[in-house]
């Protein structure tokens, strides 16, 4: 991997949750994120909620992709990669932006969502209704 990447202007706004911005060449990037996301109609949260071990989503194995057999690969580099302007609003949850070359990118994210909505079963609420 010897090609040069040239970027004239780079503008990035937000980089969160194991995301990576890398300028230059590297060998390996492997970010990982585990998320338990809870949306409540009544916004009351306890700060220590959520146990990754309780949900099989965070334990199960990734499916393995078959490796293509017997591919003889030859490449020739004949020029630079040039981008005048990159404008990126946000990177989130193991996302990456790289200006440069890399050998391996291995990124993993697991997101478990919960929605605790008032409309599904109003009788089940012990909380007072939210103020208007």
């Amino acid at each position: 991997m010897t090609r040069l990447s040239v970027i004239g202007f780079l503008d990035i706004n937000a980089v969160i949750f194991s995301s990576v911005v890398f300028i230059g060449d590297n060998w390996l990037i492997a970010p990982r994120t585990r998320v338990i996301a809870v949306r409540r109609d009544f916004p009351s949260f306890f700060g220590n909620e959520g146990r990754f071990e309780d949900y099989p989503l965070f334990q199960r194995d990734w499916p393995r992709l078959p490796v293509p057999a017997d591919v003889h690969f030859v490449k020739r580099d004949e020029g630079v990669i040039q981008v005048d302007l990159v404008r990126l609003t946000s990177l989130s949850t193991s996302a990456m932006f790289q200006a440069g070359s890399t050998h391996t990118v291995r990124s993993e994210s697991r997101v478990k969502q919960f929605r605790q909505l008032a409309s599904t079963n109003p009788a089940a609420f012990s909380h007072p209704p939210a103020p208007r």
Binding site: S19, S44, H72, L88, L91, A95, Q98, Q113
Partner: protein, 57 residues
């Protein structure tokens, strides 16, 4: 199988992206291996009353 690739010069004007999320990659360059995985779970039973999740250990 034989695979021959010639990387010529590339010139791009503007790349404008709102969001790169959940194990996605925006790469201006070359790579040998790219392996991006994401799992997401929002089952119907995730809709329910307000009960606190079990506390972390």
């Amino acid at each position: 199988m034989n695979l021959q690739v010639v990387n010529k010069e590339i010139h791009i004007g503007v790349i404008r992206v709102i969001g790169v999320a959940s194990s996605s990659l925006l790469l201006v360059g070359d790579a040998c291996n790219i392996n991006l995985s994401a799992m997401a779970d929002t089952p119907p039973e995730a809709v329910g009353p307000v009960v606190p999740l079990a506390a972390e250990r």
